[in-house]
């Protein structure tokens, strides 16, 4: 951050915004003096908050999966409730995440557990809808073949439909995961510190810290997306891989 001759921090937009990014990277790798009188930044603190965000996101995503996949799969298998399943996906898109976070904080409380619950709720719609659609759209001949082989309904679901629905389901999981990781950034408001700390407190971490926080959140989201894309590739049955390269939900 530049300091003008009078000692006042210059808050105007620098024409050399490139230097802002350099300062931000500096924040990530070197501790520096913060506005509150302590040393801030540096790899240790960055890792601490990044890991915190990963933890709450992972917990929430697991929760979403546990609830959304069985429900979506079962109804998709039965072919019932299409309107609700699709409607839930659409409705989920319209809900502003920050409202859910604060509403749940006011109703159930704050801290890791409650934030995870709020995030899990946000993750359910895309996973549920995509599981439903994915299972529903499995080639009926494959389903018939399974039944013909004497499989129970549950076996048909788990051994035929779900594997074939993996690309679609994973598309939903990826959407949910990105939403969860993104929203976890503001968990700092409701009892759980994540990378959002750096972003929302420029008076302590400076504009360097805020930009660093933004960069880290962006990189984290991209890392999650890449990881899940890789996972999707691994989980997709080989026959399908040839058909579904690259696309998600």
């Amino acid at each position: 951050m530049a300091e003008s001759a009078t000692g006042m921090i210059d808050v105007s937009i620098q024409p050399g915004f490139f230097s802002s990014f350099v300062d931000a990277f500096n924040f990530i790798f070197h501790q520096q003096e913060g506005g509150g009188g302590t040393l801030v930044g540096g790899p240790a603190k960055v890792l601490e908050l990044t890991w915190a965000q990963v933890q709450v996101s992972g917990l929430a995503l697991a929760g979403s999966l546990v609830i959304a996949v069985p429900i979506g799969a079962w109804f998709g298998h039965r072919g019932k409730g299409e309107f609700l399943a699709i409607g839930l996906g659409n409705a989920g898109r319209a809900v502003p995440e920050i409202a859910v976070i604060f509403l749940l904080a006011a109703v159930i409380g704050i801290g890791l557990r409650d934030v995870a619950i709020a995030l899990a709720i946000l993750g359910i719609p895309p996973i549920l809808t995509n599981t439903f659609v994915g299972v529903r759209q499995v080639d009926p001949r494959a389903v018939e073949a399974g039944r013909g082989m004497g499989m129970s309904e549950l076996a048909v679901l788990t051994r035929v439909e779900l594997p074939l629905a993996v690309p679609t389901i994973m598309g939903g999981v990826r959407t949910a995961a990105i939403n969860i990781v993104a929203t976890a950034t503001i968990a700092s408001f409701v009892g759980y510190s994540t990378l959002g700390d750096f972003i929302i407190n420029p008076q302590v971490y400076g504009t360097d810290g805020a930009l660093a926080g933004a960069i880290l959140v962006a990189l984290l989201a991209l890392a999650v997306e890449l990881t899940l894309s890789g996972l999707q590739y691994l989980l997709t049955p080989r026959g399908l891989r040839l058909q579904h390269i690259g696309t998600g939900a």
């Binding site: 009078t6 700092s188 700390d197 407190n201």
Partner: protein, 324 residues
Amino acid sequence: MVINLRRRALFAVLAVSVVSVGATACGGGNSSSTTSGSNASIQSNPDNAKVTLTVGSKNFTEEYVLGEIYAQALEAAGYKVKKQLNLGSETVALKALKTGNISGYPEYTSTALQSFFSVKPQDIPPDAQGAYDMAKADLEKEGLTAFPPAPYSSANALGTLTSEAKKLGVTTISDLQGKSQDLTLAGPSECRERVDCLVGFEDDYGLQFKSFTPIDPALRYQVLDKGEAQLSILFTTDAQLFTDPDKYTLLTDDKHVLTPGYPMFITSQKVVDEAGPDFENTIVAVQKDLDINTIRELNARVDVDKQQPSAVAHQYLKAAGFVD
């Protein structure tokens, strides 16, 4: 709580009517159970009509209230007034002031010194005059200036439920020594990295807490009420301290770790020159009755009663006699 307030209100109305009866019975004079009406009403000066002032404010209740009070007072003084309340943090507000988007806004001495001029919290004078002089001197180097501060100070405070304070037997922050390790502290996430917050409690008071929970300041009372934390960072001008004075206790900051901030209206020299003497005079006059109790009550009307800041500001100006 609603019933309590209604009863208090009824009682108060009864009280006031009896007092005024009593006052007239005693031959008039100041019926001042309150300072109502004891100020001269603001005169509208036609010369001011050619000046347009834009009053800004930051984005929390006390700022909205102050901004509205100043805006409405300046309007009463004959200025054309525009409002840009809810600008955001002090960095945004300062930028708006420097670019001329606003004519001025209420800022706290401590915020200005720390945020704009990188003064370390421990170097800030704790008294109003000292803090104001330092801030004004720094501002003047930037072509800005500040009017004398309002008669109250706003500071962070370490607060707890009175029941909890009694249970622990504490009245000052130092009393927490040896007890704090079982207690959870809630505060804004920045508190973790401030010498006038958690770091100060750890270093200057030697306190260790069981844990620190970062929260949006809006939740600072909720966490106490719900038992999500035993200690919370409150503000001395909080609404809840007016409506529930017995429910919460502010622990005395005996080692002076928590810096007080004095609210002053900051503006630019250019605007001051253009606007004439009524600009400063109105602002200084109208903030005269803003003692800590009054500002708490005004905050209460917004935060607790959920009234609009503009309405509450008008109620203050009217009750104080500045406007009709």
